[in-house]
């Protein structure tokens, strides 16, 4: 089965909620609104014809000139049916109602933390949203286009006596 079948199934049930559809080279993508994401994820995971059981990747791209500058891209893959589809959602950085997919896919946990770390987008409903690759006290979000390539913190900003351990009740 190929992805055209999946697209036909999705369009049949969700036609009204698809903003745009197209191709990422050889793979298909659909663009949707962020309010509909949880509904789509539920449909993707549980529909017997689709069975997108793996959230293979989740990342963002920054387009500073757009009014909604962050484009979050989800990479859904079905191990059973062997097809892949991308979902794109545009959002502002300081969006307060951006839904988290952690209730459907465990892999979304770290991916969403990475997007938060690199872009500053906060996912609502994430169990433990904190920085993952950068230190907790890092200033700024490095993968935004207006973040310079060579940025160093000022010497007085570095707290040399900051404790390096984490309290037990936080884990």
């Amino acid at each position: 089965m190929d992805v055209n079948f999946a697209l036909a199934v999705i369009k049949e049930s969700m036609q009204k909620k698809i903003v745009a559809a197209g191709n990422v080279n050889r793979d298909a993508y659909i663009q949707i609104q962020k309010e509909d994401l949880l509904e789509f994820a539920d449909f993707f995971k549980n529909d017997p014809r689709l069975k997108f059981d793996m959230l293979s990747d989740l990342f963002a791209v920054d387009y500073p000139k757009r009014p909604e500058r962050i484009e979050v891209i989800y990479n859904f893959y079905s191990v059973v049916n062997n097809f892949r589809i991308f979902i794109k959602i545009r959002s502002k950085i300081d969006e307060s109602e951006y839904p988290s997919l952690t209730s459907f896919y465990n892999s979304a946990n770290w991916f969403e933390r990475e997007v938060y770390d690199m872009f500053g987008l906060k996912f609502k409903g994430h169990p433990d949203l904190k920085r993952i690759l950068n230190p907790d006290d890092w200033d700024g979000h490095p993968l935004l286009k207006d973040y310079p390539l060579r940025k160093r913190p000022e010497p007085e900003e570095i707290e040399m006596d900051r404790p390096g351990y984490i309290e037990l009740d936080k884990i």
């Binding site: 059981d53 293979s56 990747d57 791209v61 062997n82 770290w110 884990i171």
Partner: protein, 399 residues
């Protein structure tokens, strides 16, 4: 006098910090473990100690300069990472490499898989106390790296692939060295297995340890041997073949229950299958050009001979070196089967010579995120076995 209760140690709420500089974490992984006595209740991996923001760096390099970043990401399987990146860049440009180039790419990628699995087996066995295995594995790994060096000039970070083919044709010694290696290596794999596979100590340490079910493995987006150990027959080389993998005949080994021992068996068998692919490819390397410059002169580096004999070849080479290639606007995604799992590259091009965004779908990153699921309920000593069996590489987890 002492009473019995004086000898009881307060065991609840005991936190143990494994790493970041611990020899069994294979790099700078830090795991915060919550223990009840000696049993792991919760294990939280903390990553980022090796973070160098390679995705940001790639946005400030040309397409071919960014290739050198990819093999430094996963420095044990450099050629494999280069392959994924170059395939994504080729798909962006609409370029197809020549058949000869694709065969050499497959051979190098499979050699990389063997060398990566050898490093994994060596370090994993040392973690569990089998030092001889380490010496055996590094002995053969040196042979593999020699062959890779014969072709690419580099042992671990080749950066040998170019959009549309290779940097140069392979060296004349390559075929003979590879054939020699194919002759001796199957016996060596038996040697590794003789030490471990039916070893009582090894079985005690690995059987029924770190079990993860197939559903959980898919839900955590595990790929590679960690997923196949749980019995899911998913391999990108078969599911969506790239770079002429459909020409070769090979099996996908899978495990049964998804414990440490299954993942060990899967990787051992994968080395045999890789060798099978190499022996098929090396016998059938087609004659012809190593790059498809004639079909796609706009994107492919001109051969050096062309530049030294013709005017336009010289101009193209100069432009290529000064400006780099400029793929059309668009996006492309390619995933390949890395030794550690599914490695994906998502490239966004805005029409300039620099990638607008390079997203790496890191296999180790996803694999280690399931560590808590795998370790909860096992002993602290098993944590080391499980971390080893997942085969992470911190350069790629942190990027």
């Amino acid at each position: 006098m002492f009473e019995y209760k004086d000898f009881l140690i307060e065991t609840d709420k005991f936190a143990l910090n494994v790493g970041p500089s611990h020899p069994a974490t294979h790099g700078v992984l830090r795991v915060l473990v919550k223990l009840d006595g000696e049993t792991v209740v919760h294990a939280e991996p903390m990553i980022g100690y090796l973070h160098t923001s390679m995705e940001k760096l790639a946005e400030h390099r040309t397409y071919h300069q960014a290739e050198t970043i990819t093999d430094r990401m996963d420095y044990v399987s450099g050629a494999s990472n280069n392959l994924g990146y170059i395939l994504a860049a080729e798909r962006l440009c609409g370029v197809k490499a020549s058949k000869r180039a694709e065969y050499v790419r497959v051979i190098l990628a499979e050699f990389t898989r063997i060398s990566s699995h050898l490093v994994w087996l060596a370090t994993h066995a040392v973690d569990l106390g089998a030092l001889t295995e380490f010496l055996y594995c590094f002995r053969e790994r040196e042979l593999v790296l020699d062959i890779i060096e014969t072709v690419t000039g580099q042992r671990m970070t080749p950066s040998f692939f170019r959009v549309g083919g290779l940097a140069m044709d392979f060296h004349k010694d390559f075929v003979n060295k590879t054939k020699d290696f194919i002759k001796i290596f199957p016996e060596k794999i038996n040697e590794y297995e003789a030490l471990l596979t039916k070893n009582k100590i090894w079985l005690e340490r690995t059987k029924n340890i770190g079990v993860i079910s197939a559903e959980d493995a898919i839900n955590f987006a595990l790929t590679g041997p960690s997923l196949r150990g749980s019995g899911v027959k998913y391999d990108v080389r078969k599911a969506s073949p790239y770079s002429r993998y459909e020409d070769f005949d090979f099996e996908i080994p899978i495990g049964e229950i998804g414990d440490v021992y299954d993942r060990y068996l899967v990787r051992i068998e994968e080395m045999r299958q890789s060798l099978k692919i190499i022996s098929q490819a090396i016998d059938n390397i087609p004659e012809g050009e190593y790059s498809s410059y004639h079909e796609y002169p706009a994107y492919v580096i001109p051969p050096k001979k062309k530049a030294l004999t013709t005017m336009e070849g010289m101009i193209f080479l100069f432009k290529y070196g000064m400006e780099g290639i400029k793929p059309p606007k668009g996006e492309a995604y390619v995933s390949i089967e890395n030794p550690r799992g599914e490695l994906g590259f998502y490239l966004v091009s805005d029409g300039s010579a620099f990638p607008y965004r390079m997203r790496v779908r890191p296999p180790s990153f996803c694999n280690i995120s399931a560590l808590n699921k795998m370790t909860a309920g096992y002993m602290v000593a098993d944590l080391i076995a499980i971390m080893g069996s997942v085969d992470i590489l911190l350069g790629e987890v942190d990027r």
